[in-house]
Amino acid sequence: MIEPADSDAALLARFAQGESRAARALTARLAPRAYGVARRVLGDAAEAEDVTQEAMLRLWRIAPDWQTGRAQVSTWLYRVTMNLCLDLLRRRRGGSPGLDEIPEPADPAPGVVQRLQDTDRMDALQNALMTLPERQRQAVVLRHLEELSNPEIAGIMEIGVEAVESLTARGKRALAAALADQSAALGYEDHG
């Protein structure tokens, strides 16, 4: 019997003991989160599906060796998902700039984001996300869409909390600037 109060680690232990219902419960809990962040970071649904499947496969394989208390299962899965996304993005582009190479974003043109039509908004947000450097994009997705804390993000991205704060702050400014650029390109310039 699976209870909502059962922890992810407890379910993983039950899966390792051969309980198929535990796999179903873990998939329902964790796979949508992995799929959601992979889709945001990759901007491609098919690739996000492949990454999610691979991350979950690694979770099944590590189940017998999982040490309760070592880390949260969800944090571990986010980290694997993000690393798989990074690998994929680097293969796509043949390399990634370091944190120091990322330029500071220009301030967005004033008052234009609000002019985006509702129907365009989510597409515009995704397009703007895709203009961010990979690590900024990861940090922004984890902080502002998954609503994880900075220490959690630091654990997932394997960097310090200060680096997370810097990435999310710069990422958010860059996102606003990219959205302003898009709204201008779509013809939503502020004429008033």
Binding site: E49, L57, A63
Partner: protein, 121 residues
């Protein structure tokens, strides 16, 4: 500066909408994930090396079980000990090897085998 703040405020609103629009897990992907889970779980249940274990079981049974395996091991150890440190009453096998090395064993000492065959017709 105030206008930039307005844009950031709008961005916050956009992010809030995006947070509420979580994509559903595609059914086909869920099926793939659960298929992987079943395959991995089947691997947990199976013994690590069934082939090797079965082979050892068969060999032990063929030799007569654990008592016979023990006797065989004792005989091997005794043979190895006799070879390495033979009793004084027995010739040293290493010396025997040394004595015969380099010598030709003559089957028909003093006779020419080919000549004998010719004489026999």
């Amino acid at each position: 500066m105030a206008e930039t703040d307005t844009n950031m405020h709008e961005l916050d609103r956009l992010l809030q909408v995006a947070r509420q629009e979580k994509p559903d897990l595609p059914e086909a992907l869920e099926a793939r994930i659960l298929r992987d889970a079943a395959r991995v779980r089947a691997g947990f249940a199976a013994p690590a090396r069934p082939g090797a274990a079965a082979l050892w079981r068969q060999l032990r049974a063929a030799l007569g079980g654990w008592p016979a395996m023990g006797g065989l091991a004792a005989a091997c150890a005794a043979g190895l000990w006799l070879g390495l440190a033979p009793p004084a009453a027995l010739p040293d096998p290493v010396m025997l090897l040394d004595d015969t090395s380099g010598e030709t064993l003559a089957l028909f000492s003093g006779d020419d085998l080919a000549l004998a065959m010719l004489e026999d017709g």
